[in-house]
């Protein structure tokens, strides 16, 4: 039962959904501080970390028994960092409002896509539970 709803795909989708929600929060923070002197924008890293985790030849947890913990570590997720590398204005603020708005739209579409994928995933489960009856 645990395996059915917590399969790899659903887990990654949940992590992606969390990351998108966090990215929305961080964008709201950046836009709210567009006029704050010395403010540095925050960035959410998720795709990079996921890619890194998938490319690693061996995931941190070795699995020698079927009841061991799952291979996708639960700690894998997004990370919020502060972008100190640039300055947009003389007051030291580096929020580029156009960029934030583009990121906002992209994130919204991404969130919708992940939601759709999760829905599809769950509708497959429902189909199986109902033995294919509609």
């Amino acid at each position: 039962m645990n395996k059915l709803l917590n399969d790899r795909t659903s887990l990654v989708l949940q992590l992606a959904l969390n990351a998108a929600a966090e990215r929305q929060r961080v964008t709201a923070h950046n836009v709210a501080n567009v006029n704050t002197p010395q403010f540095k924008r925050q960035v959410v890293l998720f795709e990079e970390k996921l890619k890194q985790a998938l490319q690693e030849p061996e995931l941190p947890l070795a699995r020698t028994h079927e009841r061991h913990l799952d291979n996708i570590p639960r700690t894998l997720g997004h990370e919020v960092i502060t972008d100190n590398s640039t300055s947009m204005r003389t007051d030291g603020n580096n929020v580029d409002i156009e960029r934030e708005m583009v990121l906002l739209s992209m994130n919204q579409l991404h969130f919708n896509a992940v939601t759709q994928a999760l829905n599809n995933r769950y509708s497959i489960f429902r189909y199986v539970i109902q033995e294919g009856r509609r």
Binding site: A21, R25, H29, A32, V34, P37, I97, T115
Partner: protein, 135 residues
């Protein structure tokens, strides 16, 4: 992390920009005010913004750290008939630059609109999340 933190963050941005608009309105309305409640000359007010961070370091929006009064020299105009004229016949007016106020007004308005856009985006994402697992 609270559930509606995104919206609270946007709301803090809206409140801060609204306060900036209020101060700009006050500055423009008082461009010729020579006498305030304290009996002194009106001074240009500006809001000082600071980022609001949670204990974890996560951003929670913006807050108004202070409302500062500009301490520059007043604009002197010669008008001996004015009740607030000094012994030489000069009146001290607030040193408010209308052009600067107007550009600040545009900046504040645009920033306000940007916060509204983010708020609406967050709202539609929440609604989309409510559809997970539904039919």
């Amino acid at each position: 992390m609270k559930m509606f933190q995104t919206m609270r963050t946007s709301a803090s941005g809206l409140a801060a920009e609204r306060l900036r608009l209020d101060l700009i309105a006050s500055n423009i309305a008082n461009i010729s005010t020579t006498r305030t409640e304290s009996g002194e000359l009106y001074r240009r007010k500006t809001a000082v913004f600071a980022a609001e961070l949670a204990k974890s370091g996560a951003g929670q929006g913006v807050r108004v750290a202070a409302i500062e009064e500009q301490q520059t020299d007043p604009r002197w105009e010669y008008d001996p008939t004015h009740p607030d004229a000094n012994a030489d016949g000069y009146v001290a007016y607030p040193n408010i630059n209308l052009l600067q106020e107007m550009t600040d007004l545009i900046t504040a308005t645009r920033a306000y609109e940007a916060n509204v856009t983010v708020l609406n985006a967050g709202k539609s994402m929440f609604l989309k999340a409510l559809e997970i697992g539904r039919g």
